[in-house]
Amino acid sequence: MMASSYNAKEEDGHHSGSSTHGGTGAAKNKKPDNTAFKQQRLPAWQPILTAGTVLPAFFVIGLMFIPIGIGLYVTSNNIKEYEIDYTGIEPNSPCYDCANNFTWNSTTSCVCTVNFTLVQPFESNVYMYYGLSNFYQNHRRYVKSRDDSQLNGVQSSLLNPSKECEPYRTNPETKQPIAPCGAIANSLFNDTLELYYNHPDGNTSKVNLVKKGIAWYTDKNVKFRNPGNEKDNLTERFKSTAKPVNWMKPVYELDPLDPENNGFINEDFIVWMRTAALPTFRKLYRIIQKKPDSTPTLPSGRYFLKITYNYPVRSFDGRKRMILSTISWMGGKNPFLGIAYITVGSICFFLGVVLLIIHHKYDTRTNSADIPN
């Protein structure tokens, strides 16, 4: 009896459900449903990664990546970039005195000028960066030492900054809350860089540096907000707060001439507040707009950079740089991406050839080996 009921059931576990082979009702309830999922009978697509199927993919990748890589590489090479280190470590460098005589309490700023020559003219928009080395903006305690809600203009946070800001939360003497609080804000880069062009005829003219449009739009307009009533004076709105310890002037004097770029929404400040990923970094400082006529933005020739030297880096062996760079559709000068694309494309292409050989050599063998099965 048992045997016959089994024959009817077939062996694949396709229990028809109605079969009664002496099982009690309880046992029947435990039976998994006869669904495709539970019986592992879902229809499926079963691709196999063989040399034959992968071959085209390799060739396609190779043929796509190599042109992209070449394009990237050429673009990157066309980008002009000029970099000056003005830290003032070497005794003969122009800023040596400023770097050495730095004191925190000095009221007058030290100014130094660095001369340089651009061999090639810079076309289109030129971007001016400052670069810092050995500056760990990504240190954990540094990164979290800020109060985003204070920066967003929340009044309560302005007067009572987050604990994360310690020890730059309140002024130790006046006990007033610091605005903006925290180590990031406290260490704001405050060198002033000015660029002058020596005309061939002997005149010097100041290059116009645009200081707006260097921060993320969303940061400038949403994430960073000045506290208080829009109509009030900014000084009034930051009343009863203290300036960060290392700052020379309070936050509402960052750009006294332009209220749209003052206080927390000062773009230099916003750029600084976006902490860099790596200890050597550069941050956008100014933009030199291209001229309406066809003359290059920065014609080749002699320039000098006038630096108001406020930012000490010698204590941590840091370096300061000024970078002038044009930009392309793929960003700044970085040959890495192009080289990587060319390399990977070539490897894929080469592997495609190898696989083609293997495919031809072994395909017959594997097929013949199948037959006994």
Binding site: D12, Q40, I48, A277, R282, K283, T366
Partner: protein, 811 residues
């Protein structure tokens, strides 16, 4: 607790190397049929063969073939009466069994026999067919209906119950005429020494012959007791039964005293049919490289015959015997050493091709206990155990007969604790297998006739032995590859996840600055990468079920835990580290000097982007999530719609989540570090290019490794995948509805034909002849396969063109 642990073992390493199986009820149906009996050398065969429980309509007809014609009529009567009386069968007069009302046959109610032993039922029913019907036990009188339709009554005085030590049982009855009779039935080995007269030699040869055919034999003897002898026996029994101490022992002594001086009446042969596809299953297990051990309480000859029928032993198998018979002649020591020499010599000769000759070992319980006995005498003899293990290791099949239940567990324990620590599986159906089921790593219970003890104590319960094949070869295989992938993929994806974090510490002054945002840290393992692997470990089928069933040797591919060994684990880890290095340094070089900027003109016109540390982390994380998910996609062989949904869904979820997470100033957070980071990143062309590049590079080594391995040294599984692909009408593509049909088509297409396939074939074809063959095969097993070849010829002539007897076809 223990079963929890066992479940864990069963799941994590389903690569079974040893299968221990019970014989009765597991390999066989445990559905006894009375085949023949031998009374004083004359053979009686009842015609109608019917099942043990249901009476055929043609019952109670005199079926004796060769009536002895008055010759020793007395013995015959005694023999049949003995079988009718000497049992513990109960009669169930009521017709409701299994809730089905059974009709009344031939004008009188049909009765059912119920007993703890199916053999007894078979015997009593056999007697019924031979004309002697046991009617009932009423008021201590046993009533039987003899051939002449007369009711005979015997007073039941004593029952000397069966036990596995004595291996016999007796009853003492008093006939109407006042005679005291003691009937005894039991195993030949326990009866013959106690017999004083009768045709011992003739019966003995007959019993041997039956045993060779795989029939279960019992000998029947009787003794006439005088009044005084009876009183004496009564006295012994009562005393023993009333004893307060050592009752069992004293009962055994009493039995021993009483059961002697028998007159041999004859022997019976009961057949226990092999379960369907038992042979196919065992053969498949063999091909899968699993060593099958049969542990049984039956006598050696019976068990050996079953083993041949079930293809545990083949004609080519060289049988090594380690039995009491042999150890009587030589010392155990010598036998063991001789066997191990044979085995080792063979191995050294054949070298690599071990398969060309396989050994089968037969050992009986007595010898086994001698082997396992911790020797107190000489230290040199203490390593019998080791020698025995060495022999066993080289045998593909081992038969242990005459085993006590505890010895079964002992054997399992012995193998389990041997130095390779193989994974063992025990399968059994009765209470006597429980100890072995509990001892083995994986215990499987068969829900048979002997109750549910085995099923209750098992890790898995199956209805038939043949299901073991699918369970091990298909589901075991699947579970194994799924678990292996699951475990290693988890390591891999977390190495990929955490190693960039580690590398970042070198660039952030070892300040433990997290590379990823907290939301990403939290959700990586929970949401972004969890479902694809979960689904993979639920539905992956790297080879179809049919292929796995058809080619048991694929199981060897996962032999010795091959997917969870150090090299494989190291490969995964190295791949993880490689990918992590690619992620991190790829992003590092792109961010070097923070040249990685964009004029942002792709999306917003007035933004010059300077990317900070959170963009750096987000870029790495994006590449990470995509790579890790696509890596699993590369490993997935079985793409159901759920796989598609889950894999692409996970990636989509990640993107949507990131957009949402960065798109809002979340009021409950005291930091807004992710605000617009993801969007700004996506608005930069180089970010897209680098994401594509890094994903490609990370996946490249694994693809190359897969392709090269497959092309240069494909495993059997991989070859099976290809050939499966080449077969027209691949099963995988069909819907469940058409599944059955296509399966059928494939089995006829298949060029490979074992016995199992032949059965399928013959069942499918409509001609009655192959079914007869099937019946023949099922019944006779290997015993009368000489008669098979004409059938085979005729079968192939009958229009089934694909039948080609392979080397494994039994002869």
């Amino acid at each position: 607790m223990q079963s929890l642990f066992k479940c864990a073992v069963a799941f994590t390493s389903f690569k079974v190397e040893y299968v221990f199986t019970d014989k009765t009820g597991t390999l066989t149906e445990n559905n006894m049929e009375f085949i023949e009996c031998c009374v004083d050398g004359n053979v009686y065969i009842p015609h109608a063969i019917c099942n043990g429980q249901i009476l055929s309509a043609a019952s109670s007809i005199d079926m004796i073939d060769s009536s002895p014609g008055g010759y020793r009529r007395e013995y015959e009567d005694l023999f049949f009466r003995a079988l009718c009386l000497c049992h513990t069968v109960q009669v169930k007069e009521e017709e409701t069994v299994d809730g089905i009302k059974r009709g009344i046959h031939q004008g009188r109610p049909t009765s059912f026999y119920i007993s703890s032993s199916p053999d007894e039922v078979a015997l009593v029913e056999g007697m019924k067919r031979l004309g002697y019907t046991y009617l009932r036990l009423k008021d201590n009188y046993m009533e039987i209906l003899n051939k002449d339709d007369e009711i005979e009554r015997f007073e039941l005085l004593h029952v000397l119950n069966f036990d596995s030590v004595r291996r016999r049982m007796s009853v003492i009855v008093k006939s109407i005429s006042g005679e005291y009779l003691m009937f005894c039935k039991g195993a030949d080995s326990s009866i013959f020494p106690r017999v004083v007269s009768g045709k011992v030699e003739q019966v003995k040869t007959h019993v041997e012959q039956n045993a060779v055919e795989g029939l279960r034999t019992l000998c029947v003897a009787y003794r006439r007791l005088s009044e005084s002898e009876y009183q004496e026996a009564c006295h012994y029994l009562t005393e023993a039964k009333l004893a307060l101490q050592d009752r069992e022992q004293r009962l055994a002594q009493a039995y021993d005293v009483i059961e002697r001086d028998f007159v041999l009446l004859g022997a019976t042969a009961v057949e226990d049919r092999l379960q369907e596809k038992a042979a196919d299953t065992i053969e498949s297990l063999h091909k899968a490289g699993i060593k099958v051990w049969v542990l049984t309480g039956d006598k050696m000859e019976t068990a050996t015959a079953t083993c041949y029928a079930s293809k545990l032993f083949r004609r080519s198998t060289q049988i090594l015997e380690l039995t009491k018979k042999r150890t009587k002649e030589q010392s155990l020591h010598d036998v063991l050493f001789e066997l191990s020499r044979t085995v080792l010599r063979q191995r050294s000769i054949s070298g690599l091709s071990v398969d060309c000759l396989d050994f089968g070992l037969i050992i009986d319980g007595a010898t086994l206990s001698a082997v396992l006995k911790p020797s107190q005498e000489v230290s040199g003899h203490g390593n019998y155990r080791e020698i025995f293990l060495e022999i066993c290791r080289n045998c593909s099949a081992v038969l242990c007969c005459r085993m006590a239940p505890l010895q079964k567990a002992q054997i399992v324990k012995l193998i389990k604790s041997s130095k390779e620590h193989p994974i063992t599986l025990a399968v059994g159906d009765g209470a006597n297998d429980v100890s072995m089921i509990l001892e083995a790593h994986v215990g499987i219970g068969i829900m048979g006739k002997e109750g549910r003890q085995a099923a209750r104590n098992s890790d898995y319960a199956i209805p038939k032995f043949k299901h073991l094949k699918k369970m091990l070869l298909v589901h075991g295989h699947y579970y194994y590859i799924r678990i292996a992938e699951l475990v290693q993929y988890f390591f891999y994806k977390n190495v990929c996840f955490i190693f960039p974090q580690f590398l970042y510490q070198f660039f952030c002054g070892f300040s433990q600055q997290p590379l990823y945002d907290t939301a990403y840290l939290t959700l990586y393992n929970i949401s972004f990468t969890s479902l694809p692997i979960l689904l993979y470990s639920l539905v992956e089928q790297h080879v179809t079920i049919d292929t796995l069933k058809r080619e048991p040797s694929l199981y060897r591919d996962i032999a010795k835990n091959s997917l969870l060994r150090w090299p494989v684990f190291l490969y995964w880890t190295c791949l993880g580290v490689f990918d992590a290095v690619i992620f991190f340094f790829g992003a590092y070089f792109l961010f070097d000097n923070t040249t990685f900027t964009s004029n942002g003109q792709l999306m917003t016109t007035n933004t010059q982007m300077m990317f900070g540390n959170w963009t750096f982390g987000t870029l790495i994380f994006t590449v990470l999530v995509f790579t890790v998910t696509l890596k699993l996609a590369l490993d997935t062989r079985h793409w159901t719609w759920i796989n598609h949904f889950v894999i692409w869904g996970s990636l989509l979820f990640y993107v949507i989540f990131s957009l949402l997470w960065g798109g809002i100033i979340w009021p409950f957070l005291n930091y807004q570090r992710m605000y617009y980071v993801f969007m700004q990143m996506l608005s930069s062309g180089p970010a897209w290019l680098s994401i594509i590049l890094l994903i490609t590079v990370s996946l490249l080594p694994d693809v190359i490794k897969k392709v090269l391995c497959r092309a240069i040294c494909p495993t059997a599984t991989e070859r099976a995948q290809i050939s499966q692909k080449l077969l027209p009408g691949s099963v995988a593509e069909v819907t469940p509805l058409s599944f059955r049909r296509s399966y059928k088509g494939r089995s006829t297409d298949s060029t490979l034909l074992h016995l199992g396939a032949a059965e399928t074939l013959s069942l499918r074809s409509c001609s009655p002849l192959p079914q007869k063959l099937l019946a023949h095969l099922a019944e006779g097993g290997g015993s009368d396969l000489t008669s098979l070849s004409p059938y085979m010829l005729r079968l192939s002539g009958a229009g089934v063109a694909y039948y080609a007897p392979g080397p494994e076809t039994p002869v």
